[in-house]
């Protein structure tokens, strides 16, 4: 059995286990699977294109926000994937335009996007018979958790398999060539712009659909979806990244640890995030050296 097959088998086991657990754990696994998809979408850009983004809350959060507003206005659920698709295209365009900056400036610029959205989101207010939105955000009718979990686990599985297939494909090799040296890739005839566009589109697409799942799972979205916490989540979850399963497991561990620490003190998990961020350069160097 190859390593890839084993990784896929391990993921299937992780996805099937919650079906036999109680509601609370099913709910938690559902959240973890959504964030794992979000992390993988980020990892696709980082691993295959060498771009570290702190702005993936753009496709993730914007889709969640717009979907929640659309559902609030009684738009049918089957239109939501269309919203995710549109937001993904807009995000991909922004990421592509930003990719003309060097790698360090790309990080700064994407971080700026997430903070600007976080600051701007509380101003999104809809006036009806009462005020909706603002810092409270938008609520939608609850959907059955099992149904949402089915969709979110399918999305995670598709994203995971897509990444493995992409990694071993010609397109994946071209992406990695662009990641290692754009000029050298150009010199051997690779269409660098096209490769970057495709990378941005794939990455944004999965992040957008994860955002849609987030709205359906929580039945509520508020400005904190754009918070720094969410912006740095994929970075922290994949700090030990080697293969594609490690970021998934990292996301699960972070979600479970967050819930546990939150039960001790509200927001206590952000301490953990801060500590991991501070030591992340050391952890990454260690992980790269091992690799």
């Amino acid at each position: 059995m190859s390593k890839k097959t084993l990784e896929i088998a391990a993921l299937i086991v992780i996805l099937v286990i919650p079906m036999f657990l109680n509601f609370y754990y099913l709910w938690l696994f559902c959240l973890a699977s959504i964030f794992a998809t979000y992390t993988l979408s980020w990892f696709l850009m980082e691993k295959l294109c060498g771009r570290t983004s702190f702005g993936h809350t753009l496709p993730f959060g914007l889709t969640a926000y717009i979907a929640a507003i659309a559902i609030f206005f009684k738009y049918p659920l089957y239109l939501m994937p269309l919203i995710a698709l549109l937001v993904a295209m807009v995000s991909a365009t922004i990421f592509y335009a930003t990719s003309f900056l060097d790698r360090v400036k790309f990080v700064f610029a994407t971080f700026l996007y997430s903070i600007v959205l976080w600051e701007f989101a509380p101003f999104v207010v809809i006036k009806g018979d009462m005020l909706y939105g603002g810092e409270e955000g938008f609520s939608i009718p609850m959907l059955p958790t099992k149904a949402v979990y089915l969709f979110s686990s399918c999305l995670l599985f598709v994203t995971f398999v897509f990444l493995i297939v992409l990694h071993n494909s010609k397109l994946g090799l071209k992406m990695m060539a662009v990641r290692d040296d754009e000029e050298a890739a150009l010199a051997i005839g690779i269409n660098v712009k096209q490769i970057k566009v495709l990378n941005c589109v794939f990455s944004s697409l999965f992040a957008s659909f994860a955002g849609l799942m987030y709205t359906l799972h929580f039945s509520h979205v508020d400005p904190d979806i754009f918070s720094v916490e969410n912006a740095v989540f994929p970075f922290i979850a994949s700090v030990f990244a080697g293969g594609y399963l490690v970021p998934v497991i990292g996301s699960y561990i972070l979600i479970f640890a967050s819930k546990y620490l939150n039960s001790i003190l509200p927001q206590f998990h952000l301490f953990l995030y801060a500590i991991i961020l501070i030591i992340s350069p050391k952890l990454r160097r260690f992980s790269n050296a091992r690799g």
Binding site: T52, F108, L112, P266, L270, I275, L277
Partner: protein, 251 residues
């Protein structure tokens, strides 16, 4: 009415310039984007919330002590862990979140207001100005004068050298650690002093520094396009900040 808006925006620009001076000095001398800068701003405001009404200006000593401790911690972390622009920036982001969470956990999520400090308003040439606006104006003039004197002194050429090429400066025997340490420490103190002084004019909450940090980064990005070093960069930064505040304020 129009003049009044222009003046309000002008003072917002002055505040932004004051705030961004520390950010640009960290970026040029210590070679990283200090993402903990906004948290130092919040830290200053919280110190004011706890001590200003009881200790008045003596509370600034407490502020200097606390912000220096965190400033030194940031420097040590950068030296031990951050070895390039990106990793240093990420370390500073981690410290920023840590400070914010310490504030959140020790105060529980919520907003605070300092209400017992009367806001003095002066009328100069028919235009009303708050005391805090005048204070920040004189602070900016003082800091720019100190920076001008510093760049004209024997240390000026060394600082310019560090700003232009840190490796070359090291090879030529400039002790970059002294300049980087001073830059980080003074920037952290400046940010917390600004948070302290402006705390009476706004709601205090742990993430209050992010908004002004975003504006600071935008101004820094625009000012950096001029690729200046030395005193000129701070002058350009001031002009960009005022122009930015006027344009944003207009909309």
């Amino acid at each position: 009415m129009e003049i009044n808006y222009l003046i309000i925006n002008f003072f917002s620009g002055i505040f932004l310039a004051l705030f961004t001076i520390g950010l640009i000095s960290n970026f040029k001398i210590a070679k990283f984007l200090n993402l903990s800068y906004g948290s130092f701003f919040a830290l200053g405001a919280y110190v004011a919330y706890h001590f200003f009404l009881s200790l008045h200006l003596l509370s600034i000593l407490i502020l200097l002590f606390i912000s220096s401790i965190f400033g030194i911690l940031l420097y040590v972390l950068l030296k031990k862990i951050g070895n390039d622009v990106l990793s240093s920036t990420i370390v500073s982001l981690g410290l920023g979140i840590l400070i914010e969470e310490i504030l959140r956990l020790t105060h529980v999520t919520g907003y605070f207001l300092i209400l017992d400090v009367p806001i003095k308003v002066y009328e100069i040439a028919g235009v009303k100005m708050a005391q805090w606006e005048l204070v920040q104006f004189f602070m900016l003039i003082t800091i720019l004068t100190i920076l001008y004197a510093l760049y004209k002194s024997k240390y000026g050429i060394k600082i310019k050298f560090v700003e232009e090429d840190v490796e070359l400066a090291t090879i030529y025997g400039v002790n970059i650690n002294v300049y980087q340490f001073s830059s980080i420490l003074l920037a952290c103190i400046l940010s917390s002093v600004l948070g302290f002084l402006s705390s009476t004019t706004q709601a205090i909450f742990p993430s209050m520094g992010w908004g002004v940090l975003v504006s600071g980064i935008i101004v820094l990005a625009i000012a950096s396009q001029f690729r200046l070093v030395g005193f000129k960069q701070y002058l350009v930064l001031t002009i960009v900040s005022i122009a930015y505040a006027e344009i944003i304020g207009w909309f």
